[in-house]
């Protein structure tokens, strides 16, 4: 009975043994995709994008098709991504760690060997995956963007990373983030500032700014991020890519350095809904190392995808869409509101019935979120004490060792949140803050439930504005926190949400993308992906490839 968890051993040999215990994820989950859907698309990728209305394609499926039909070798594919990565990286600084090209090319060569041998390929075979640096990787440093973990190398892979690798994915590097995920611009990284590929004077959003920028600039195919209060969805919006925050418990948190455990979720970025869904398929599912991971079945998220060419005129007929009234009012940029209204019209054209819904508790989400998130973070970050790993400041007294190590190791935003969280959990304040916030959380959860009883999905902007300038809000934390208004409620309710680019506002040389957020019922990611896919395939006059991507790639 107590053997439900085997020992997680430090030794590499045993890690390998463990991984063989894992049921191998067969290709079958993904191979169920109707072949006419994507093979026909794949051939499109060889056409030059003469029009700006070409809907985004699945890079994963088109690359796979090219590999299997021997149009291209994995090594060639890898070289082209590496070239683009090396060219853009000095401008963007998306990555905190990049392995040697040789290491990446060796994996690609290994894949070419498997292809010529006719071996079965994993669904992520040869896919370039970037991983946010607060997600543990056994073969690369994992710092969470913090000085206190500078040079730290975990002895294990996060479950999500392990699954990506088992399915053939190639981890191409660790992406930049706000320290421990605490921020909305990626300026909170202890190491570097990442630029937005649409306008390098702007922030990519955050905290998963590096992962969003890397996908946007096609430095990788897909990437893993983490979303505690919007850290996948808001940068997806800022960078014009697809971002998915799964239902709480859908993806194992094992190996994700905890910020706020009851809110944290590992999420996915892709340049198309299909790629995002394929990555989710790879990492979703119960994990015996995470007691909060769900045992819900993981359906084939892509099985209901329909290709644009075979869509009926009203493919979303009967779908009830609720536009959250509180998200399109004061404090939201007019350009964002009109992009969202246009997206709502587009959904109506696809057959949806769109109605405004009110979530009266919506504005309570922000304070409740910050109380809960900082409370949990003050506890979760206690382990960074300089005793066992990470940076240590020597001192003659234990308290000074703790104080020195933590004051030198943590950045100011992290310290501020630890202090606020410690305060909120202190005797005499607990009831007024933590407990109250939990009550608000229950109210929010219930109001979402009610709204999702009357609607199949809810929509809103992913952020009140498009990407803003680097430094613009750095010294105004409250303004930055306010930017999370669109996303934090979803984490409080534990629901899945998909953000996809739906339009532009003025800014930069080519405009700045605006993201539409679709919120679904718990474990209804399949619905979000299906709707999102139809939305993106039918959206006209938009091409979400940033100007920094100069070479002629098929997006």
């Amino acid at each position: 009975m107590e053997h439900h968890h085997e020992k997680l051993n430090l030794s590499v040999g045993n890690m390998r043994m463990l991984s063989t215990l894992q049921t191998p994820r067969s290709l079958s989950r993904l191979s169920l995709i109707p072949s006419n859907t994507f093979t026909s698309r794949a051939s499109l990728t060889h056409q030059s994008p003469t029009t700006t209305t070409t809907p985004p394609q699945s890079q994963i499926l088109s690359n796979r098709h090219s590999l299997l039909s021997r149009h291209v070798t994995a090594a060639d594919l890898a070289r082209s991504y590496l070239t683009r990565l090396r060219q853009s990286e000095p401008h963007l600084r998306s990555f905190l760690h990049l392995p040697d090209d040789d290491a990446v090319l060796a994996q690609a060569a290994h894949l070419d060997g498997k292809i010529s041998a006719g071996d079965e390929l994993g669904p992520l075979a040869g896919v370039f995956v970037a991983v946010k640096d607060n997600i543990c990787t056994i073969d690369m440093p994992s710092t969470a963007g913090s000085r206190i973990l500078e040079g730290y190398r975990p002895p294990f892979d996060a479950t999500a990373v392990k699954r990506v690798k088992e399915l053939g994915g190639i981890v191409v590097g660790k992406t930049n983030l706000d320290e421990f995920g605490m921020g909305s611009t990626t300026e909170g990284s202890a190491f570097q500032v990442t630029a937005n590929p649409w306008d390098v004077s702007r922030v990519p959003g955050g905290s998963s700014g590096g992962s969003a920028a890397a996908v946007s600039a096609r430095q990788c195919v897909v990437s893993l991020g983490s979303d505690t209060g919007g850290s996948v969805r808001q940068p997806a919006s800022f960078c014009g890519v697809v971002g998915l925050k799964p239902t709480y418990g859908r993806v194992s948190r094992f190996g994700l350095m905890a910020y706020a455990s009851s809110l944290d979720a590992i999420g996915c970025f892709g340049s198309s809904v299909a790629d995002t869904g394929i990555l989710l398929s790879a990492i979703a599912g119960h994990d015996r190392f995470d007691a909060t991971s769900s045992k819900q079945d993981v359906p084939n998220f892509l099985s209901h995808f329909v290709s644009a060419s075979s869509l009926e005129s009203k493919p979303l007929k009967g779908l009830r869409v609720g536009l959250i009234r509180e998200t399109i009012g004061d404090g939201v940029d007019a350009g964002v509101i009109s992009a969202i209204r246009a997206a709502a019209l587009h959904l109506e054209e696809l057959g949806c019935s769109v109605n405004e819904v009110s979530l009266p508790s919506f504005s309570l989400g922000l304070p409740a979120y910050y109380v809960l998130a900082v409370s949990e973070s003050s506890s979760n970050l206690s382990r960074y004490d300089g005793i066992r790993y990470g940076g240590q400041v020597y001192a003659d007294e234990l308290d000074s060792l703790y104080g020195g190590s933590r004051s030198k190791g943590f950045g100011s935003e992290v310290k501020m949140r630890i202090l606020m969280g410690t305060y909120a959990l202190s005797a005499g304040y607990y009831d007024a803050y933590y407990k109250r916030a939990q009550q608000v959380r229950t109210i929010i959860r219930n109001s979402f439930k009610e709204a999702l009883n009357q609607n199949d999905i809810l929509i809103s902007p992913a952020a009140p504005s498009a990407a803003y300038k680097i430094g613009e809000k750095k010294n105004d934390p409250l303004a930055m926190y306010a930017g999370d208004i669109m996303t934090v409620n979803v984490n409080l309710a534990g629901l899945p949400a998909l953000v996809l680019p739906c339009g532009f506002v003025e800014g930069g040389s080519a405009g700045l993308p605006v993201g539409l957020q679709m919120i679904g019922a718990a474990f209804d990611e399949g619905q979000l992906l299906r709707v999102g896919h139809i939305f993106e395939q039918t959206l006209e006059n938009c091409r979400f490839v940033p100007p920094i991507v100069t070479d002629d790639i098929a997006d």
Binding site: M1, H5, A258, R383, L398
Partner: protein, 547 residues
Amino acid sequence: MASTIFRSLQVQPFLLNPSKLLKRRNGVMHFTTKATQSQTETQQRQPQAKVSTSTQSKKLDKIPNDYEAIIGIETHVQLSTLTKAFCGCPYNYGSSPNSSICPICMGLPGALPVLNSKVIEFAVKLGLALNCNLAFNSKFDRKQYFYPDLPKGYQISQFDVPIASAGYLDVDIPVEFGGGHKRFGITRVHMEEDAGKLLHTEHGNYSQVDLNRAGVPLLEIVSEPDMRNGIEASEYAAELQRLVRYLGVSNGNMQEGSLRCDVNVSIRPIGQSKFGTKVEIKNLNSFASVSRAIDFEISRQVQLHSQGQEDQIVQETRLWEEGSQRTITMRKKEGLADYRYFPEPDLPAVILSQEYVDRIQNSLPELPEIKRRRYEKMGLSMQDVLFLANDKSIAEFFDATLAKGADAKLVANWIMSDIAAFMKNEKLTINEIKLTPEELSELIASIKGGTISGKIGKEILFELLAKGGSVKELIEKKDLVQIVDPVEIEKMVDKVIAENPKQVEQYRGGKTKLQGFFAGQVMKLSKGKANPGLLNKILLEKLNSKN
């Protein structure tokens, strides 16, 4: 406050050889802890301590008259699960430092706890055995503080909803301490994880951390302040040890720290309703030290109080010093520590179903208290009852022997006299002796049925204890069957009478005490096998018949 000097301690968590995990990188850390302060404290108190030691027994006699002691106990029981509470590491007492650790119990970034379901099972077992109310919906909480033996910076514990509460424990006070039956209240039982251990080197100026124990499951049992003296407290602790051993949830070994008692002691003048200031005592490694430390502490407090120095009794943690047999100040409480408890978000709620609880209830063994009452009903003395029921293995041996049909009192006599003496001399437990319950039952039956004499029975017993074998075999092999044939005995009597004419003369001349001499000679001739009753009957007939 005392300075805790801490040079450095560095762990390289990704070394593959765990034994090297706590290799120090840049120098070492040093703990002077509170040693200096304790020292002064000790010196200051020495004269007092001497006084109180010399007057201790008198003081103790005085307590019931003038003062009343209020004692409560917090007990930590380490559970004997195969793996730790939240990871798959085993725990074996005494294994080399940091040989049984993993990313989870080391608190590495990204590691998460997953509850070992055995911990709940054991907690429910003990909660039921302590007559508690169970919380069918409880949870874990984080208790937060910084210390190098606490890898995550918080201990996973239970705060406001313990898994079991409001129970009691019935204890029989041993006859030599006045006897009697006592019921002590149980406030709560909750689940938590143990911390690691700091190893302070004797000469080097550094300390090391051993995380083998980190994450080992514990049950904390908090009693009501129902004890009034050291004996009651140590008997409560002993009964708790018995209980966890009967239940199989812990080895209850105090020396290994599997069962740790912290006691809270306060005194007040009889008639006063307000509680006195309570003092916590730690470092109690045996039941004797529990009892002695409390009695020492009571007399220390009574003395201070009776001298008008009750303001000297302060809320503090004191350490029991086994060597000098007294308590010394370890640390004074500086206000209440704020552990900033909040619900552990990494673990789901602990939900018990009635079926689950019923299944455990039905699987509980006979508990010590029930066993004692059963033995009492068999007519055994309280001394016998306590001896037999106190040790689970002895009780099992006793019950197994009874199951073979032997008489309870006879079995108790054998176990408590010759068998107990043998175990004591040879330093063996009842499970290590070669005698089986079946054979003890057979032995008793053989004596009762007259096959062998009681004397032969004893000889056989020692053979069985040391070498094993069966009673029947030994009797046959050694030709030990009792002689019950009157003709055969008569022959031997005749022989002895014939060989001792002088003594016969004396006997017949009135020195009848010589009967014993003749009986002894006949018994010797029979190699101890003659039935004593028959022997005496025939001997008397022969001696008294005047030819």
